[in-house]
Amino acid sequence: MNSFLKHTLPAFAANNPSIEVSISPRPGRHPVIKGLYINGREKAICVRNMEPSEILKKAELLKVASGEKLRRERKPVKSWNESVRGVWSPYHGHHHSV
């Protein structure tokens, strides 16, 4: 973790100017990376006994994530637009008359 803080973290922070990086000591506890997201949620990953490259991978994971809770979405497309072709109605079609 120390070598990550000294060597890898400055480059990561420089590459991502939109991310605010702050370091605080946690004496007597495992080292933790915490990501704070716009929706107010927080993701914490314990990085004890990890190599700097592995810690960087976890940092990248936090970077690309949104703060949403992990959930399994069954439908791939999420849309807030109304349907383009309109809702089906039995009175407007040529196959059968009502």
């Binding site: 690309v64 992990l70 959930r71 399994r72 497309v77 999420k78 637009n81 383009v84 407007h92 079609g93």
Partner: protein, 235 residues
């Protein structure tokens, strides 16, 4: 039992490892690369024979009368022109020339875009969660989706014309609209992952239970532009 050719290949000093097609576990693999990424253009069709039909577009007016009209005659489908071999780039058909401006004028539009041949019905502003993790892509990158099978608005639909399938045969093949006719751009928003999923595999009267962990990752795209091009832009 090793065959003679395999034995010879293993002992031969020319190759450090026998060629792929001789290895028993890799007999089906080939070294031909198939590019399936959405941003790659499809390879040119082999059109040596004159009666092979090329992709042609046909605009079809919806048979449904708009709800606002009280009672009007139903619009008839224009005949699909017979598909003949044309020189590249393929010329636009007559119906496309007539109706593309009308389609363009009637917003909003939807598009059925294909990524790795999977269709997604998209409009502008949608969030698309892909079933795979797209490599080498950072949040903020812009992707141009050029494979689409249908573009439409409320009353008009643009499809690619294909020959009708033979009787009792559904090939499942999709034909794509000419990508000069539309623009569809998406931004990469990030990568989400599923919650940890543990699959338990066991058999009856067998105490051993094998637990397989899986945690899939999905690239999230946001569609920022769905636009039909005008005739002047296309030609």
């Amino acid at each position: 039992m090793l065959t003679k050719s395999l034995k010879r290949a293993l002992l031969d000093s020319r190759w450090p490892m026998p060629p792929t097609f001789l290895l028993p576990w890799a007999a089906g693999l080939t070294t031909v690369s198939h590019s399936t990424a959405a941003s790659n253009l499809p390879p040119p069709l082999v059109s040596g024979v004159s009666n092979i039909s090329r992709q042609r577009e046909a605009l079809q007016q919806d048979q449904r009368a708009p709800p606002r009209a009280s009672s009007g005659p139903l619009a008839s489908l224009p005949e699909l022109p017979a598909a003949n071999a044309t020189s590249s780039p393929p010329a636009l058909s007559q119906s496309v020339r007539e109706l593309l401006p009308v389609l363009q004028a009637q917003g909003p539009h939807y598009i059925v875009a294909h990524l790795y041949d999977r269709p997604y019905l998209l409009t502008q502003g949608d969030t698309l969660r892909l079933p795979f993790h797209m490599k080498d892509v950072e949040p903020g990158d812009i992707l141009r989706l050029d494979r689409a099978s249908i573009i439409g608005s409320r009353d008009y639909t643009l499809k690619a014309a294909t020959a009708p399938p033979a009787l009792n045969q559904s090939t499942g093949k999709v034909s794509y609209v000419d990508d000069r006719l539309f623009v569809c751009r998406a931004v990469v928003m990030g990568v989400e992952s599923d919650p940890l999923h543990v699959e338990e595999k066991t058999k009856r009267r067998q105490r051993k239970v094998k637990r397989v962990k899986s945690k899939h990752r999905h690239t999230i795209l946001r569609i920022k532009e769905v636009r039909v091009r005008g005739l002047e832009e296309v030609e």
